[in-house]
């Protein structure tokens, strides 16, 4: 069960993701350099947070054309597991592997704080060990996390239960106050139609050990590993 963590110029959560996979999920993991199309036989790919290519033009706009993303696109189309966190989510949207786009936060400020997200679907490898309605405490840190898609796409996401996480209050209520960035319907994470690609703005890798003050993020990685074992 080999994991690959992509490094773009400007990635800054790559080592956190690597650490969580090797030290918390206890799985083999390797870094994948953006300039090489070789996914080194990895079974799951993490597109980490940061500012790939400086976020120039738009977040993820340049990263999607990198050689590694060409391979990730093929890998995902064939059903391969791809998890995009924060900037990784933005890149996967730009690459067309996930629907919608992440706009500038409604408040125009970089928001860095722990938030609560509710599990809306357990029908993904990343959430299959969680309970529907379960609330996780996980931090966010972004300037462009304001999820947007057109009405037709939103209807499709709802119908196919592809909204995976929503921002809520600690008790799990979807309110405007609990929405940190203006995201459409408090959306914090969505998956593709095949349910093998997940994008989420919150950082589970920053909330996976008691030393960090939060451990809910580890549930996502444990869930993913157990789904891969069962497969």
């Amino acid at each position: 069960m080999k994991f690959g963590v992509i490094i773009f110029p400007g990635s800054n959560c790559d080592h956190d993701a690597y650490w969580v996979i090797s030290e918390v999920a206890k799985q083999p993991v390797t870094f994948l350099w953006h300039d090489s199309p070789d996914l080194q036989g990895c079974d799951a790919i993490i597109v980490p947070g940061g500012f790939a290519y400086g976020d120039y033009l738009r977040t993820g706009a340049i990263a999607k054309f990198s050689p590694v993303m060409e391979s990730v696109r093929k890998f995902a189309t064939d059903g391969g597991l791809v998890l995009g966190i924060c900037n990784g989510f933005q890149i996967l949207c730009e690459a067309g592997l996930l629907p919608g786009a992440l706009l500038r936060n409604a408040g125009l400020k970089y928001v860095c704080k722990p938030v609560h997200i509710r599990v809306e679907s357990t029908n993904t490898p990343y959430t299959q060990q969680l309970s529907k309605g379960e609330v996780l405490e996980i931090p966010i840190g972004h300037m462009e996390g304001n999820y947007f898609c057109d009405e037709r796409t939103l209807a499709e996401l709802k119908e196919q239960e592809r909204i995976v996480f929503r921002y809520t209050t600690p008790s799990g209520e979807v309110t405007a106050e609990a929405n940190p960035n203006g995201s459409l319907e408090n959306i914090a994470g969505v998956c593709n139609a095949g349910r093998n690609v997940l994008g989420m703005m919150p950082h589970p890798e920053r909330a996976s050990e008691p030393e960090l003050g939060m451990t809910d993020g580890a549930k996502v990685f444990h869930s993913l590993v157990s789904a891969m074992v069962e497969k």
Partner: protein, 85 residues
């Protein structure tokens, strides 16, 4: 004879997409006392210099492709451009 050309590309958020930056600038202008401003949308502007090897038709097609495939995200943005020279 082909002459160097310049393309001027304007990218803006679609009307259906909220533009918080434009809104903030609009609000600031109103506060400063500027009058008669109904709305303000912020966008991006690109100047592309093209070498003399392309015909006007080819240059138009190339700029169109760049604007569509790279400079805009069709989910949230739209573009227009002019070609001069």
């Amino acid at each position: 004879m082909f002459l160097p050309m310049k393309a001027y590309v304007y990218v803006s958020l679609k009307k259906s997409v909220l533009d918080p930056q434009g809104k903030t600038i609009h609000g600031a202008l109103k506060k400063m006392g500027y009058r008669g401003i109904d709305d303000l949308r912020q966008g991006k502007y690109f100047e592309i210099s093209l070498d003399a090897s392309l015909s006007r038709e080819d240059a138009h097609a190339e700029v169109e492709r760049i604007a569509r495939e790279v400079l805009t995200n069709p989910v949230i943005e739209e573009y227009r451009f002019t070609l001069e020279g």
